[in-house]
Symmetry: C2
């Protein structure tokens, strides 16, 4: 019995769906509507005390953190291996996941600013406070406090873009080796970084400019052409339903698991 | 041929030395003097473009990021296994390394404020700029800019301590299961979190109070009693020499590898 609690086109949900589909592992999809803060309801927090998506539940045991989940999928299920054979390449794969995690923190600020600020502004003061009170991770709570007020300014955005530039430049260099991030074939590192590059391209296409970063673009196109990525990234499927109108805190009090 | 570039009692250097000693793997120690910014010299940056310690060099190949290094050591060398056998426990181990990495970012701000601010203040303006100009990671560079100016204030310290509290409370809960962080025996997760808890105890002992967190204290004592931890954490050895007087940027221009 394998259930994935995820939320459509969120960066980390895409990573795990992409991995499951590459591996050919069937699962039940449990959609968590972030636009209604269903990730903060008490039943979900029992599975994932951080209150973030995704969570994989296997035989009743919750597994959290996208990278730990993807390593788990490769450890626990048959299918094409998604970790390199050579331990040095596996180390490189894990180094890239940390790089990916670092840049993801910067990308969150960019995503929130571009896609969420106006919707958070539209919440009532009481609802804003409800949402903040129910957010367990201190740095996420601080981010929502910020987003409920002035939001991120030019200096914050520039700091986030500085991190993006640093990572994309290193990606371009790394891809000169084999065309993959960690050794001679596709691996979890490619899955992990793809969703970050995909988001960067949605929000700040100049940061992954075709002329300056030809290898990153070639790699991205090659990855996005894989059937598993096509499925995982497709908008409007059962796993990636359209956003509801507006944003509300109703899901904090709903039973969704 | 195995060489470890590390810096004594820095949190991540202790993690990797602890792992190597648990595993019984011999290595050559290459001490990087952070108080002279030797981590920013060009030869070191060739091995580790992030300009942080540690770096493990095996047969000429640099391996970076403490957690990726420790997984590598367990993958590549004989000795007692340091990853759990059960894939679910391995996922838990990796989840904890991410938790450890998150809290480490908060701890860096606490360490810098407690141990480094006055020494950075004592650098000349020219040397401060040299150090900032040679720091590759954008967030580290931003941190040094901050440390070269007003430093971290009460709000920043409280934010960092909030993250510390959150993590320590979860540790206390997790340790109720088996007394280890990831399954029935000692693993890389214990190594990774120990160095963070050790640092918290040095700087803010109230945060790991004996009465409020009995399991965390028992776990810490049990870990620190292991011969490998005793060696890795002992001050004043060849691997943990005393700090030089003051701080300087000389190491940026020195050949240290």
């Amino acid at each position: 019995m394998l259930k994935l609690c995820h939320s459509g086109l969120s960066t980390c949900s895409k990573q795990v769906r992409h991995c499951l589909k590459e591996k050919g592992v069937a699962y039940e999809s449990n959609y968590i509507e972030l636009w209604r803060y269903e990730n903060l309801n008490p039943q979900y927090l029992k599975l994932n005390p951080n209150g973030v998506v995704p969570t994989l539940v296997h035989d009743g045991v919750p597994i959290i953190n996208a990278f730990a989940i993807n390593e788990y999928i490769d450890d626990a299920f048959a299918g094409p291996p998604l970790k390199p054979d050579d331990p040095k390449d596996r180390a490189r794969m894990r180094h890239w996941t940390f790089m990916g995690d670092d840049v993801h923190q910067a990308i969150i600020n960019l995503t929130y600013t571009a896609n969420l600020k106006s919707l958070v502004d539209a919440l009532s003061e009481e609802d804003k406070q409800t949402m903040i009170d129910h957010t367990p991770m201190p740095e996420r709570r601080a981010r929502w406090v910020r987003m409920s007020g002035e939001g991120y300014g030019e200096a914050d955005i520039n700091a986030a873009l500085g991190k993006v530039s640093y990572t994309v430049a290193w990606l371009e260099k790394e891809l000169a080796n084999t065309g993959w991030l960690a050794g001679p074939r596709f691996s979890l590192a490619d899955i992990y970084l793809l969703s970050n590059v995909h988001r960067i391209r949605e929000l700040y296409p100049d940061q992954v400019d075709m002329v300056a970063f030809p290898r990153v673009n070639e790699w991205r196109d090659k990855l996005m052409a894989r059937p598993a990525a096509k499925e995982a990234y497709a908008p409007g499927t059962d796993e990636t339903p359209p956003r509801p109108a507006g944003k509300s805190v109703d899901g904090i009090f709903a039973e969704t698991i």
